[in-house]
């Protein structure tokens, strides 16, 4: 099931308070075309890990390699969907995405950019709203634009920072389905942060469970990847039938047990 290693993270740590790293010894691999989710409580450093992968933050120690080349600084190879969608409110949907497309392919002509933009806006089903301003869109639509923008630059790795956290359950479900379809069609490699266990089970091929840093009797213990679990459910799973699949409940219980019992006290 595991494909060739695409991204390798080695012994990453990030220190804000000396002697008390938020996390350390964080190591994991992501295969080409793999969808990996990371789950953990607030404050465990998930977003920091993602920012380091994106090149927006620097690790205190450790390395990230993508295709055997070390990651340093942000790059168009890694597209990010931000938690707060981060659309530029002074640009229309079209211009927001065109801004990204022009950054990726500065040599493209106007017509080329237009076609590319329209293709990716259509992909998230927003063709009717392409000339609207972000302020005129609902939260779900904004996040779709954020996803379209990240996909439009055709990054080799897509990083999603809890993209559906601020959406209502119905909208979240619809966009999860859309994201799943697009990822399956494009074979995109994805690293995603989530709080939602079912979201992780639906989308991820593999789930990283991350524990918080905490004080124990033996002294301070930094956060780390406590467990890595492969998703045993078939790749054809859908949101509607997910909970009827065999093995769903044991898998879900395992993750929930971790979050309830061990994520903090590990």
């Amino acid at each position: 099931m595991r494909m060739s290693t695409f991204l390798r993270v080695e012994r990453l740590s990030r220190v804000y308070v000396p002697g008390k790293p938020v996390f350390d010894e964080v190591s994991f691999d992501i295969g080409r075309g793999e969808f990996v989710c990371i789950i953990g409580h607030s404050g465990c450093g998930k977003t920091t890990v993602l920012n380091i992968l994106a090149g927006l933050d620097a690790a205190s120690s450790g390395y990230v390699f993508m295709d055997n080349r070390e990651v340093s600084g942000p790059s168009l190879d890694r597209g990010v969907v931000f938690q707060s969608h981060a659309l530029m409110p002074w640009f229309s949907v079209r211009k927001n995405i065109a801004f990204a497309v022009r950054s990726r392919w500065p040599e493209w002509g106007r017509e080329e950019v237009r076609q590319h933009v329209e293709r990716f806006v259509a992909m998230v089903g927003l063709s009717h709203a392409i000339d609207r301003m972000p302020a005129e869109l609902s939260g779900g639509m904004k996040q779709r634009v954020g996803i379209a923008r990240a996909f439009a630059i055709q990054p080799r790795l897509l990083l999603l920072d809890e993209p559906f956290g601020a959406l209502d359950a119905l909208t979240r479900g619809t966009i999860q389905d859309e994201l799943m379809t697009i990822v399956r069609e494009t074979g995109q490699t994805v690293f995603m942060i989530t709080h939602d266990v079912d979201e992780a089970i639906l989308l991820a091929d593999r789930i990283l469970l991350m524990s918080n840093g905490n004080e124990t009797a033996a002294g301070y213990r930094a956060g780390r990847i406590a467990e890595v679990v492969d998703n045993p459910l078939p790749g054809t799973r859908t949101r509607a039938t997910l909970h009827h699949l065999e093995g769903y409940y044991p898998f879900r219980n395992r993750i929930v047990d971790f979050l309830v019992a061990r994520a903090r006290a590990a």
């Binding site: 790059s75 597209g79 530029m88 409110p89 950054s103």
Partner: protein, 288 residues
């Protein structure tokens, strides 16, 4: 909608009413007070005595302050022929206004050229912010007119000195606002630009400038307001041309109707300038 329109109508009505009241009070205050009532009570000898003492009990006593009618006539007269030029001390009001606006425009444009790039620098570099802060704090509160002697001495040209004074008073609000606007551009937008590997120039013009534009425009609007206040005083000092010089010249002529007309005109032009910048401000404001 109808409620808002009704309110606007009522407000306009009250405005008109207040204006009428003001005009009425003005008219009453400036109507010559007749001395005839007093004169009638006097005997011819007493009148003659008063005349011998240099007083004229029969004469009308005027305050010297023009009536609304006189001012209105002056306004019509000026507006009928705004662009005549009969020598250095007698130019049409349009020409005077043109000189003032040109000075303000030039000084303001120079201030933009300096304040906006410098504001960008200060906003983006904490080092420069700290390094330049003491200078800004000291220079900002100086009255622009205090620079006048130094400007006259070094520049040696009175008109250019006027422009310099406009420049120096417009620069601070723009500088401070630009720096603030640039420094408070949302982190997430900068992160988007970083992940897209946007060049410094594109980032400055397509991300930071539009993000900070409403704050920058606020600074420009404040600057323009101050510049228009200062130009009148500056032109009174340097003389020659301009609406400020016109006011001073008409004061020397003791022509209060002209002074009142000029004061009104300064107010109206200031309002128009502010409205123009308000428009501009609305054009660059974005809703999040």
């Amino acid at each position: 909608m109808t409620a808002i329109r009704g309110l606007a109508l009522k407000a306009a009505l009250v405005s008109v009413l207040l204006f009428a009241l003001f005009l009425g009070a003005w008219q009453v205050a400036t109507t010559p007070v007749g001395g005839s009532a007093v004169g009638a009570a006097l005997t011819p000898e007493q009148i003659e005595y008063a005349r011998m003492m240099g007083k004229d009990p029969g004469a009308q006593k005027a305050s010297g302050f023009p009536t609304p009618g006189q001012v209105a006539a002056t306004i019509v007269g000026h507006l009928a022929d705004p662009f005549y030029d009969k020598g250095p001390n007698d130019k049409g009001i349009g020409i005077q206004l043109g000189h003032s606006l040109a000075r303000v425009g030039l000084g303001f444009a120079l201030a933009c050229l300096v304040a906006i790039p410098l504001g960008f620098l200060i906003g983006m570099s904490p080092l420069m912010r700290r390094a330049l802060d003491p200078f800004i704090q000291v220079l900002k509160p100086i009255s622009p007119l205090a620079w006048m002697p130094l400007a006259l001495y070094t520049i040696k040209d009175s008109s250019a000195s006027g422009i310099f004074v406009i420049f120096i008073c417009s620069v601070w609000p723009m500088l401070v606002n630009t720096a603030f606007g640039v420094a408070s551009v949302k982190r997430e937008w900068l992160n988007v630009a970083r992940t897209l590997e946007v060049s410094a120039m594109r980032k400055a013009f397509l991300v930071i400038l539009p993000a900070a534009a409403p704050t920058i425009l606020t600074g420009m609007r404040i600057s323009m307001g101050i510049a228009w206040l200062v130009i009148v005083a500056a032109e009174m000092l340097v003389g020659g041309t301009g609406i400020g010089y016109f006011v001073w010249n008409e004061w020397n002529n003791l022509s209060l109707t002209n002074v009142i007309f000029a004061v009104l005109l300064i107010g109206v032009v200031g309002m128009l300038l502010d409205m123009a910048f308000g428009r501009l401000q609305r054009a660059v404001t974005y809703v999040e």
